[in-house]
Every structure is written in structure tokens, then in C-alpha cells.
């Protein structure tokens, strides 16, 4: 039972995008079309499962002080693997995802899960958490892409929807639409859960990959600004 909970946690209750608000960059950029969203989601899921599992395996070997660079190497290795496989077998998608595929390395979700989950749990649970979080990410991307593609381009996964053709809102597929739809989705989730979900009120250190660097010096990111003055 507990195992199932680990999986569904990432899917709904702690959805990385809509509840934890991590990985905003690929979410905004890749939700223009449904196909892009699914490709990005699955690529990130693959990296997330593998890196979670490997980091969990190595958690007793990696010294605490240099753990972040170690995680980055592991993640970057898997990203390169996904890049090479995609370039070989799915060249069209590879071109479409472009630089965002390489940028999975710096996706906060992956480093965040390594830091928050994989280095404390066993291999199986970590892989399961990766699967759940990955699917949660894909689900959120898919939802956003559906809204943006159907309303903005009157099509779904490339198939055009006849009766909507005259009522397209092209701005939704443009960058401003990304911010707008994302904002409205988070607001919707906050409204539906009526404060039960731990919706973040602002961006903070939690899950931010840089947190480990900042905290090392005994201060959180938030205090950086006071010191700057």
C-alpha cells in the first residue's frame, strides 16, 4: 500500500508542476502542442527514473559535501543518453525539443527529487517516486498543452478541430499565453483543493537545486537579499 502511495503522491497530491511549482521553464516552453508536451514529459520521466535509481544506489558512497556535483554528473549522463537515443530514432522530435532537451539537466524537478527523496530512500522506492513525479510532470504538461493547443490553434495533437477554426485565440500558443494559462491552472488547482494541497505561496528554497550551495554557508536564499544591501 505504501508503495502505491509513493507513486500517486507525485501524480496528484504533490504534482511537481501544479502544486510544487518546479520545472517551470520546460513547462512553459513545451506546452505549445500536445506532441511536444508528451515527448518532453516522457524524456524527463526516463531521466528522472534512472537518475533517482542510480543516486539512491550510490547514496552511501557519495560524500555529503560533494553530493550536488555528483548528482549533476549522473543526471547529465542520462540526459546525454536520452539525447543520443532521440537523435537516432526520433530525429523530428529531437529537432522540435531543441535546446530544452539538454536543459533537462538543470530541471529543478530532477535535482530536487534527488536531493529530497532519492538520497534517503531505497532503490525501488526512488525509482517509483521518479515514475510518479515524471508522470505528474507529463500530466501537467499535457493538461496545459491541451488547453493551449485546442483554444489557441484549434487542433489536438496535430489533428484540427473543425468547429473551433473560426474561434482560435492565437495568443495562447505564443509566449504570453504560456504564462497566462500556467497562472490560471495553478489558481484553479488552488481553488479546487481549497487550501488543502500544500500550494506554495511564493518561490523559496525548497526544491531549488541551488539551495544546497546556499545552505552550505549557513544561510537560505531568502537572506541573500538582506546581505546584499
Amino acid at each position: 500500500m505504501k508503495k502505491i502511495k509513493v507513486f500517486t503522491n507525485g501524480l496528484i497530491k504533490e504534482n511537481p508542476v501544479l502544486v510544487l511549482v518546479l520545472g517551470t521553464c520546460p513547462t512553459l516552453a513545451m506546452s505549445v502542442s500536445v506532441i511536444n508536451a508528451i515527448a518532453m514529459g516522457l524524456a524527463a520521466t526516463a531521466v528522472l527514473i534512472c537518475s533517482n535509481a542510480v543516486i539512491s544506489l550510490l547514496r552511501k558512497v557519495i560524500p555529503d559535501t560533494v553530493r550536488i556535483p555528483c548528482y549533476i554528473v549522473v543526471i547529465a549522463g542520462f540526459v546525454t543518453l536520452v539525447q543520443m537515443l532521440m537523435e537516432a530514432y526520433l530525429p523530428d522530435l529531437y529537432d522540435m525539443l531543441g535546446v530544452y532537451l539538454a536543459l533537462i539537466v538543470v530541471n529543478c524537478i530532477i535535482l530536487g527529487r534527488a536531493e529530497m527523496f532519492a538520497n534517503k530512500h531505497n532503490v525501488f522506492e526512488s525509482a517509483l517516486d521518479g515514475l510518479g513525479m515524471g508522470f505528474g510532470f507529463t500530466l501537467a504538461l499535457l493538461l496545459m498543452a491541451t488547453v493551449r493547443e485546442v483554444l489557441g490553434n484549434a487542433s489536438f495533437a496535430g489533428m484540427s478541430i473543425g468547429f473551433l477554426q473560426d474561434y482560435k485565440i492565437p495568443i495562447l500558443t505564443a509566449p504570453p499565453g504560456g504564462f497566462l494559462v500556467f497562472g490560471c491552472m495553478i489558481a484553479l488547482v488552488a481553488y479546487l483543493t481549497r487550501g488543502k494541497a500544500p500550494i506554495k505561496k511564493s518561490f523559496d528554497c525548497e526544491g531549488c537545486p541551488s539551495a544546497a550551495f546556499c545552505r552550505k554557508e549557513g544561510k537560505a536564499c531568502g537572506t541573500a537579499e538582506t546581505e546584499a544591501k
Partner: protein, 200 residues
């Protein structure tokens, strides 16, 4: 003359048209996280420009003279992220030791930038776009300036927004994203103006 025109075109494109934050969605985390006050936002922006220039100066030669001639182009992602991470840490140590006053104003933002997607993005894009060293540096400067511009404008918008009273569900992140959408719309208006100025 032609060279200067091209460089100007690159810089205008990366500052206004292909703004990294508002158009390519790179570096959203610091854009939303550190934009509550204008002075903070400009500090972060300056630090990003600094790191982008430094990262490009380091990664472009590595890619061109080390990885590509040896057929190791596929190692790009791993090498770039490690070089950037190491570089940022190194610069922070150097600044702390030798220029404490600069460290006071820039240094605190440096750790935040290590894993920033805008920095990795600009170094990779410079390679994919086939720029030479000078063009890469100019493009990085442009992207950094674009980031600074977006940060400062958005910080101004946000300071006003603090006084607004949105519906409960929109409080916090959602209303910030909606505001970002409007700022992004303003930049969307620049689309196509570089091609009309400089030609294709």
C-alpha cells in the same frame, strides 16, 4: 561595417525579440523568485550577465578546440554544466578573497546561478547557432542584458502588484504569472522588428 551590423543585429535580437525570459522561457525561477524589489532584480541581472559572459568565454573554446576535433561533441551537456558549476564556484571564491566589496553586491547571487537554465541555454545556443567567438560573446551579452531588462521591468510591475487584492485562489504565484504574461505581451510586440531593420 557588415560585421558591426551583424553584431548589432545579434544583440538587438537577443535583448528584445528573443528575450530569454519572456520569449524562450529560460531562467524563469530567478525571474519569478528574485524580482520582488528593483535593487535585488538588478543585482541578480548583473550577476547573470557576468556569469553568461564568463561561461561563454570558457565553453566556446572547449567545444571548438577540444570536443569537436576529437569527435566528442556528444559530451557537450555534461562538460558544459560541470564547467559552469566549477567556474561559478571558483569566481565566488576569488571574489570573496580579492574583491570583497564586489562579492557583497554580486556574490550572493552567484550560487543561485550555477544551475540556471538561461546560462546553460545561452552556451548551447551559441554553439547550435554556429556563432564564432566574438558573436558568441555578443550574443551572451545580449541575452544577459535582456534578462536584466526583463527582471527590472517585472520588478517594477511587481512592486505595484503588492498593493493589489486578487481573488484568493490567485494570490501568490498565479497572479505573478498573469502579470508576467502581460509583460511578455509587451515584448511580443517587438517580434519581426529586427528583420525589418536589418533584413533577413
Amino acid at each position: 561595417m557588415e560585421t558591426y551590423k551583424l553584431l548589432l543585429k545579434i544583440i538587438m535580437t537577443s535583448v528584445l525579440v528573443n528575450n530569454y525570459v519572456l520569449n524562450k522561457f529560460l531562467g524563469i525561477c530567478p525571474f519569478l523568485g528574485v524580482s520582488k524589489k528593483i535593487d535585488q532584480a538588478s543585482g541578480m541581472g548583473a550577476a547573470v550577465i557576468f556569469v553568461m559572459l564568463l561561461a561563454t568565454a570558457a565553453t566556446w573554446p572547449i567545444q571548438t578546440y577540444l570536443l569537436e576535433p576529437n569527435g566528442m561533441g556528444y559530451l557537450q551537456t555534461i562538460v558544459f554544466i560541470l564547467v559552469i558549476a566549477a567556474l561559478v564556484q571558483f569566481v565566488e571564491i576569488v571574489l570573496k578573497k580579492f574583491l570583497p566589496s564586489l562579492h557583497g553586491s554580486l556574490g550572493v547571487y552567484l550560487p543561485l546561478i550555477t544551475t540556471n537554465c538561461a546560462v546553460l541555454g545561452v552556451t548551447i545556443n551559441n554553439i547550435t547557432d554556429g556563432y564564432n567567438f566574438l558573436q558568441s560573446m555578443v550574443s551572451s551579452l545580449g541575452c544577459g542584458l535582456g534578462f536584466l531588462l526583463a527582471m527590472v521591468i517585472f520588478a517594477g510591475v511587481r512592486e505595484r502588484m503588492e498593493e493589489a487584492d486578487p481573488p484568493k485562489a490567485f494570490k501568490g504565484i498565479p497572479i505573478t504569472l498573469v502579470a508576467a504574461s502581460i509583460v511578455s505581451m509587451a515584448f511580443y510586440g517587438f517580434g519581426g522588428f529586427v528583420t525589418s531593420l536589418f533584413g533577413e
